[in-house]
Amino acid sequence: MDKWLLAGSTIMVVLGGGLGMLALQRGQRSHWTVVCMLAAFVLQLAFLGLRGEARGACPLGDHGEKLAFLAWSLVLFYLLVGPTYRLSLLGLFTAPVVVIFQLLALAPGMMTNDPEHVAEVNAWGEAHSAFSVLSFGALALAVVAGMMFLALNRLLKEHHLSTGLFKVLPPVRTLSVSVVRLTLLGVIILSVGMVSGLLMEGGGLNAHLVAALIVWLGYFALLVTHYTRGMTPRRFSLGVIVLFVFSLIVFSLV
């Protein structure tokens, strides 16, 4: 049942992305993209709820659950940030990322069919996992906004102004501000996750935490440079993308 819910939410995201793409070709924005993403979010919640209940803990017990949780946090931030910054097009760029994560989660061997009920819950450990994955939702969305910025920047610099993509992308300033704010939000949540990690029983400075610290320092340096010295939006966007890819590689190794 739980996997069907995740599959259903994947279909909704595909639908939202597809409708957005069709509207994009006509040089318009699709309001249905937001509706589909909302439906996907509800299905994701139901999936995570069932898995959490089965585990008796945060549903982050296997790779599949982690990927699903990451996809959920992406959609969560999309819904939170989208209307605020009028970035409904963000859904179009978010959709493929969410679909990839969820398809990977549904792939054979990624998710246990009968999650084991944990004997004892480590509250700090749960908080560490949840906040860390949640932060990567915000940081992934910053990557998406950064890619949108880079696409628009290129079109503007090279004077390619008649494409459908150019017409529907939000303004440069809106995108660059979004990249910064999402990164800041991600770093704040990641900080909470790291503190939780240090406080959890049996925690301490292990390889995982050192990797997290390096990633956190990278983002922190990027933000400090932006707020003090200043940085071109292109470099900030590239920095956000590079750091995210770097963190994915590092965490897959430790």
Binding site: L152, L156, K157, H159, L161, S162, F166, P170, P171, V172, R173, T174, S176, R229, G230, M231, T232, P233, R234, R235
Partner: protein, 333 residues
């Protein structure tokens, strides 16, 4: 009863003739009243814009009504202006013509939107002063509905067709709303003035004007409600602005890569939109290589405007088809 229309526009009459028929907006109701006083006319609406003055009336006899209107126009001009400048429409052609006018198909700038509002206010004035009747009401109401549909369904108002509007559109694509955007104008010529006015009309925060002759900079700054800057001081202002419009008559580059590089730190690498509408160019092309700079010269902007015009022209046939369908459906043709 027959619908008739007599008028003159930018296609048929030069401005020297058109201006003699211009009616200010507060007097449109009164002008409609003058039509109703003519023998055999039972209702009237006068549309007057900078490109046209048109008299719409409901006549007992189309031929007599047209003659009455023609004599009225001569009286208004103080002489016989001849037939070359005036066009006359009757019956279904009146409906077709009005639909074309409110859809922007008959405008100097194809697809422009202002004429729709002007025609609506002209009709409203005539309606409020009690000078419209029966079929004339039906005609205008249908024309507004058709005009709205044409603008919604087709791409007749898509894209920009002038240097100023292209510049404003690009500025909005970079900065979103322009409320927080500061503009610097280098050179106090006509092109600078119109482009700066376009940016101001869309809400630009403030304007700085610099020119080799400080007096001319002051005059333009006063006109634009901005601030004049001495020519040897514009590099300092560069750190504060978001948009630069340059249009001087200098034979060499005025804004160099070094100038912009020098301001980058102070600007904290914020995006900078440079519009170079001078020939020869005022801004070194190498400035466009700077990451956060978006540089557009006159050729690029005019190319965008030409593409916009081309796209609108392609829509004319689609618009006319909609007009015909709608008028046939409503029985006005």
């Amino acid at each position: 009863m027959e619908l008739i229309c007599l008028g003159l526009n930018h296609h048929t009459a030069p401005v020297g003739v058109r201006e003699r028929f211009a009616v200010s907006e507060p007097k449109l109701g009164e002008a409609a009243g003058e039509l109703v006083k003519l023998v055999g006319l039972n209702g009237g609406v006068v549309i007057s814009t900078c490109n046209r003055t048109e008299y719409y009336a409901l006549a007992e006899s189309g031929e007599d009504g047209a003659r009455q209107l023609r004599e009225y126009m001569n009286r208004h001009a103080g002489e016989d202006i001849g037939d070359d400048h005036v066009y006359a429409k009757a019956g279904g052609d009146v409906a077709r013509h009005l639909c074309r006018v409110v859809s922007g198909l008959d405008s100097m700038v194809l697809g422009e939107t202002e004429v729709f509002g002007q025609a609506k206010r002209a009709y409203q004035s005539a309606l409020e002063s009690g000078h419209t009747a029966g079929d004339l009401n039906r005609l205008f109401q249908k024309a507004f509905a058709v005009g709205k549909r044409v603008r919604t369904v087709t791409g007749i108002q898509e894209g920009q067709t002038s240097v100023g509007s292209v510049a404003v559109d690009l500025a909005e694509k970079i900065f979103g709303h322009l409320r927080e955007s500061r503009v610097m104008v280098i050179g106090a010529g006509e092109m600078s003035r119109t482009t700066a006015q376009s940016l101001l009309s869309r809400g630009a925060h403030s304007i700085f004007v610099t020119n080799r002759s400080f007096e001319r900079a002051e005059n333009l700054a006063k006109e634009l409600d901005g601030e004049a800057v001495r020519f040897d001081d514009w590099q300092r202002v560069l750190a504060e602005v978001d948009v630069v419009v340059s249009s001087t008559g200098a034979p060499h580059a005025v804004v160099t890569k070094a100038d912009v590089e020098g301001a980058r730190r102070k600007r904290k690498f914020r995006p900078l939109f440079l519009i170079d509408i001078a020939v020869p160019r005022d801004i070194e092309p190498e400035v466009g290589e700077i990451e956060e700079v978006y540089l557009y010269d006159i050729d690029t902007i005019e190319q965008i405007a030409t593409e916009g015009k081309g796209r609108r022209s392609e829509q004319i046939a689609v618009c006319e088809k909609i007009i015909e369908e709608e008028l046939v459906k409503s029985g006005l043709l």
